[in-house]
Symmetry: C2
Subunit: 200 residues, 2 copies
């Protein structure tokens, strides 16, 4: 694209470059959901997106590049952590969102986890996305400390304790879904935090 004099103007938000990216990433998400990452091909994405395949190769290089970009795009949405007025309520709402994303069929979240075992680029993008999301969620703990619900607390460890059982049950153990798990796992993390398990 750099050899095209129109390219620079096309890179503005909402320009052709952004439009092509949106079309291609929509196609990646649809193909991933329908076929999993094993069925993801540069040609399949190009056809579905209605974009010339040389454009897809030039910009994303390979399937790993497509996966990484679709994960990066997920990180660009203006997701906001819940704000219910209590740590227990916030963590329960967060866990319900996670449980929903892992149980919906086809699950884009589960497809990304599967893909991360096969593409280093996808794995790194997923690690970045999760780091960002956990960083965004630290505000839940800061607010709880400000409300004097908790002593000064290591936020990341508390957040992992609250959320890890969801992934463990639904992605690794493949347990039957338990509608009480989001709340129970939130309550466990709050109990441990109040007992000083994550105190600074």
């Amino acid at each position: 694209m750099t050899d095209n004099p129109a390219a620079t103007t096309d890179r503005r938000p909402g320009g052709r470059t952004a439009r092509v990216r949106a079309q291609v990433l929509d196609a990646v998400r649809a193909e991933l959901a329908e076929r999993g990452h094993e069925g993801l091909t540069m040609e399949g994405v190009a056809t579905r997106a209605g974009v010339h395949r040389t454009t897809v190769y030039r910009r994303w290089h390979d399937v790993g590049g497509l996966l990484a970009d679709v994960i990066d795009a997920a990180g660009e949405t203006d997701w906001q952590p819940p704000d219910t007025g209590s740590l227990h309520g916030d963590l329960t709402a967060l866990n319900e969102e996670i449980q929903e994303s892992l149980l919906v069929r086809p699950s884009f979240a589960v497809a990304l986890v599967a893909a991360s075992f096969h593409s280093e680029q996808a794995a790194r993008a997923q690690t970045r996305l999760w780091a960002d999301r956990y960083a965004q969620c630290e505000i839940l703990v800061a607010r709880a400390v400000a409300r004097a619900e908790l002593p000064p607390t290591e936020a990341r460890a508390l957040l992992i304790t609250a959320t890890a059982p969801l992934y463990h049950h639904l992605v690794l153990l493949r347990s039957a879904p338990d509608p009480h798990l989001p709340e129970r796992s939130a309550a466990t993390a709050v109990a441990a935090a109040r007992a000083g398990a994550f105190s600074l």
Copy 2:
């Protein structure tokens, strides 16, 4: 094998059937560790095991069958949960074992997780193996209750809280290894249990 009159005697433990299975499963573990499940083929396993490939096809049918049997074989070893004299010590030892299995390179445990996204048979075998292991570990909690370390406690939920952060950090988030994580995650689960988070 059923059309061979010698087959029944061969099925005794230590007989030819058991020996062939041991050779084939050793080859599956070695191939998985070296190449991951994507590099696993019936032919590669037969060659490595020094077993005729028709034998491998007849007995295991496909790569999913090999994966499921290697997971089932892991469940047949006489693994014993730790017994250190305290719940905190037991959970720490258990977590250290888990952390070691996930960090060793190549990791058979991580290869099985990756494989479970691609083979329904492997996924079901892994779910069974994990269910068995968590059931075996319930004794840790029963002993802690008997020692009056804890009120009557839902063992499975406590065990998941203790162990899930290991898998979350090392398999999903791909965090840098933290030598304190096994103990910290054990301590968190004990704190939550003492606070009544898993009380029956």
